[in-house]
């Protein structure tokens, strides 16, 4: 059993795994951080997106060994219902999710974008979210919420 230490939602965390290839997705879900969703396990849908050192990454394609010493942020780390992150607040205000299964990945991908581009254009947003799939058809509201969260609403 090897230990892997990293920053998780701004706190130090050490997890044990007998498999260095265990995907970060299952590491997170096993410790109760279930906002990060399994959608395909293939890196194709974006439902499992988290931030690693501030950049959006697919947790289903990231081995636990590869986050050693890095900083991981999940949707739970952005904010909560009492104190939501501006992106979360905008997604709530715009009533974005239907089933909501893709929403976590959408918000995390947007968080990665906004971190390096605080005022993304609609084209930037669409381009960034190209790898995030939604089946319910919440796309229009996703874009509107991200524009609103970056002060470009209305």
């Amino acid at each position: 059993m090897a230990s892997y230490a990293f920053q998780l939602n701004k706190s130090p965390r050490t997890v044990e795994s007998d498999d260095p290839d265990k995907p970060l997705l299952y590491v997170l879900r096993d410790i109760g951080l279930t906002a990060t969703k399994f959608g395909c396990g293939l890196g194709q849908c974006g439902a499992c997106t988290v931030l690693i050192d501030g950049e959006a990454a697919r947790s289903c394609q990231t081995a636990v060994a590869d986050v050693k010493g890095k900083s991981v942020t999940t949707l739970e780390g952005l904010g909560n219902a009492a104190s939501p992150h501006p992106l979360q607040a905008a997604f709530i205000k715009e009533q974005v999710p239907q089933c909501g299964y893709c929403t976590s990945g959408m918000i995390m991908t947007a968080a990665g974008l906004v971190a390096r581009n605080p005022k993304p254009s609609e084209a930037d947003i669409r381009n960034e979210l190209e790898g995030n799939l939604c089946r319910c058809g919440s796309h229009v509201r996703v874009v509107r919420a991200i524009l609103a969260a970056t002060g470009q609403g209305g």
């Binding site: 007998d18 959608g39 999710p97 299964y101 979210l129 229009v140």
Partner: protein
């Protein structure tokens, strides 16, 4: 009410629906006003409503919120009749121990049947509370009012709470179909875009999905499906997973699974396990599906419409046309693969599921487990989007069989490959339409012939994969939904027939998928109407309006045309020479001929070099009668448009002679942000009309509106979806598609 609460308290306190279930058992934060045993008889007010000491009300709803917003809309409907703040209504959905069976959440019936039933229960309760108040205050009912969980003399501060008036008893009242409903002019909460209560948790990760739920002591399971449909298991090498700690094979005949204490080990076991399968039963060649549908075998012939002459004499100048349309099989394509947990114990069974039909699943589970339904408790939890009968019931049956075999609670989680490969598919549909139009654009003859897999009458449940694999008897047949509706146009035609050749089989296991049948039928009917308009050199909007009498239908077409700034002219556009060709299209449906009216407009830009269609704008005027929650309804219409555009532009289940081969998002692509158009929706509020459903109807005309816009832009008429760039390019170059 003891078996279900073996899971962790933390999970209970986190999840909306779960918290509700917790409190309803009497150990929650509020004491119940009424302690008699609950009835689940839908004829009783008590099945739906329970008054609490503090004036709040529990609402028990047999329909479930699959993301479509019933969780707020049905609260609004009940709150309105009780003059109660919707925040004072707590709601439990789809729990077979706590909610009455209001039928599956399907067919866009959540509000129009489920909500309407609950509204009537609330109206009955209101009437009873006023009667009790009248006795208590010695005043006529006309001098009383309901407010904030109390009945009081109008304008006076002190009233008596609902609980006081009921003296701790239940209502003990039959649901009164004649109990007066509130005058719509007095609505305070119905018609308001109140926010959906599950949205904050879905944006912060606090919402507990089926896939997130845990039961203490549960095993994680994965299923190993055969490499060919209908193959049987020849051998399993259990030693191939011996190095994975705790991983075990569980097998019942051809139903083969691995279980492990943790999920990652179960996944590795699934990937590692060596096994040998027989040949499958063989699938038809994909390219021959449409052709083979014409050949049968058939269960029966059905004439849905027959009027006028069978072979009318055509007036001079009339133009006869005919065309064939094909809609292939589609996957539900839920973003989260199906998942369920089951705990099968000698004294009772609990199944947690995201099924659209928890009450039906309970009966099904009773049959295949051989356990009386009274001992089975099915609990609904939100899953990833459910647009019909997807894999949730399969996963539930699998979890139940595994729990019985292992003596432990078991969580079954499908993979992406399981989901796209094995979810029941929207069935293929083939339509031939022939007709004639006169030079003024009047339809003089219309013949629709349809080849459709027939839903087996009386089939209690979709045949489940694991039961067939395990050799457990179950009723066989097809589930497809009401797929022959809207095969006839909504327009005047003196001579018309609609004939269905009902097919006995489908190439892959079918099920109802959002707006079942109506999407393909509208695609054919509304495309053919435009083909007639072009033949008669008529404007498609004007020709539709001339052929209609239905005022609500006329209004949605006019409003849609106005949003598009529609200038009348025949289609296609005259100048189609550009590298990018632009066009517009419209389609209309009166959903099922007795529900929602809507028209759909599309504006497209087609790139000649690539064949790529960019839908620039989709507009829709939509009349679903009373709109309980306009933002919820709008979200549903957005979803109908984008999901069906995805189906029409990209989707086609691919299979070889053994199995489905489109098992990931690159082989089964769906719409991404790059292809999402601007969407504009005009919802017509009809506050005094019955609510008619918004979850499906707007899906129906999307394919036709797209086909008509593509034709308008390019002059090419595609009659098979998806309209992939390859197909469009081939047609532009005059090659067969």
């Amino acid at each position: 009410m003891n078996a279900p609460f073996t899971f962790s308290r933390r999970a209970l306190l986190k999840g909306g629906a779960l918290t509700v279930g917790f409190a309803l058992t009497g150990i929650g934060p509020r004491a119940l006003a009424q302690n008699a045993p609950r009835t689940l008889d839908t004829g009783e007010v008590d099945a739906f409503l329970t008054v609490n000491m503090d004036g709040s009300v529990w609402l028990s709803c047999g329909k479930v919120d699959l993301g479509q917003g019933l969780r707020i809309a049905i609260r609004q409907m009940a709150a309105e009749e009780l003059d109660l703040d919707p925040a004072k209504i707590m709601m439990v959905e789809g729990d077979t121990a706590l909610t009455p069976d209001q039928g599956p959440t399907a067919g866009s019936t959540g509000i129009q049947r489920g909500g309407v039933q609950i509204r009537q229960a609330a109206a009955t309760a209101r009437k009873a509370l006023l009667e009790l108040g009248s006795k208590a205050f010695g005043k006529p009912e006309s001098e009383l009012e309901l407010t904030n969980g109390q009945v009081r003399i109008k304008g006076q501060a002190n009233g008596k709470s609902f609980a006081e008036l009921l003296s701790g008893q239940r209502f003990n009242l039959k649901l009164d179909p004649k109990a007066p409903l509130k005058n719509p002019a007095d609505y305070k909460v119905v018609g308001k875009p109140l926010p959906r209560p599950d949205v904050p948790g879905k944006c912060t990760g606090e919402h507990v999905y089926m896939q997130d739920f845990k039961v203490r002591g549960m095993l994680h399971a994965r299923v190993i499906r055969p490499p060919a449909v209908g193959a049987s298991l020849v051998s399993v090498d259990e030693s191939s997973i011996a190095s994975l700690p705790g991983a075990k094979v569980v097998r019942q005949k051809d139903f083969l699974c691995v279980v492990a204490e943790d999920e990652w080990t179960a996944i590795k076991a699934q990937r590692t396990l060596k096994c040998e399968w027989s040949e499958g039963r063989g699938l038809p060649p994909q390219e021959a599906v449409a052709q083979r549908m014409r050949a049968g075998p058939f269960t029966r012939e059905e004439t849905l419409v027959s009027r006028g002459d069978v072979k009318p004499a055509l007036p001079p100048g009339a133009i006869a046309l005919k065309a064939s349309y094909f809609w292939p099989m589609h996957s539900h394509g839920s973003i989260g693969p199906s998942c369920a947990i089951a705990d099968v114990k000698p004294d009772g069974v609990t199944i947690w599921t995201a099924s659209q039909a928890p009450h039906r699943l309970r009966v099904t589970a009773s049959r295949f487990l051989g356990i009386p339904a009274e001992k089975i408790h099915v609990v609904y939890l939100d899953g990833a989007g459910c647009y019909g009968m997807n894999g949730h019931d399969d996963a539930a049956a699998e979890a139940a069989l595994l729990s019985r075999a292992t003596g432990r609670p078991v969580r079954m989680q499908w993979t992406r490959e399981d989901e796209l490969g094995w979810d029941p598919k929207g069935p293929p549909q083939l339509l031939d339409i022939a007709g004639a139009v006169d030079a003024q654009g009047n339809i003089v003859d219309w013949r629709t012939e349809m080849w459709l897999p027939e839903a087996t009458r009386g089939l209690p449940n979709l045949p489940l994969l694991a039961l067939d694999e395990a050799g457990i008897p179950q009723a066989q047949g097809l589930t497809t939904g009401l797929i022959s509706q809207n095969g006839d146009p909504a327009y005047a035609a003196p001579n018309m027939s609609v004939q269905v050749h009902w097919l006995k089989d489908a190439p892959l296991r079918p099920s109802n998928l959002r707006a079942p049948g109506k999407i393909a039928n509208s695609f054919a009917v509304e495309s053919f109407f435009d083909e007639m308009a072009t033949a008669a050199k008529q404007d498609p909007v004007e020709m539709r309006l001339r052929a209609m009498k239905d005022a609500r239908g006329i209004e949605v077409i006019k409003r849609t045309a106005a949003m598009m700034n529609w200038q009348p002219r025949p289609s296609p556009v005259a100048d189609r020479s550009g590298a990018v060709m632009r066009g517009r299209g419209i389609a209309y449906v009166h959903y099922k001929h007795n529900e929602t009216w809507l028209a759909m407009g599309m504006e497209v830009a087609v790139e000649r070099a690539s064949g790529h269609i960019k839908v620039e704008r989709a507009v829709c005027a939509h009349d679903c009668g009373l709109i309980v929650n306009p933002d919820g309804a709008r979200a549903q219409v957005e979803g109908c448009i984008l999901q069906t555009l995805s189906r029409a532009l990209f989707e086609d289940v691919k299979f070889d002679r053994s199995r489905v081969t489109s098992v990931d998002w690159s082989s089964y692509p769906i719409m991404t942000f790059a292809d999402v158009p601007r969407v504009e929706i005009d919802l017509i509020q009809r506050i005094d009309q019955p609510p008619l459903g918004a979850g499906e109807a707007a899906s129906a005309p999307v394919g036709a509106a797209l086909a008509n816009a593509l034709f308008d832009a390019t002059g090419i008429r595609l009659r098979t979806v998806p309209f992939t760039p390859e197909r469009v390019k081939a047609a532009l170059e005059g090659r067969a598609t």
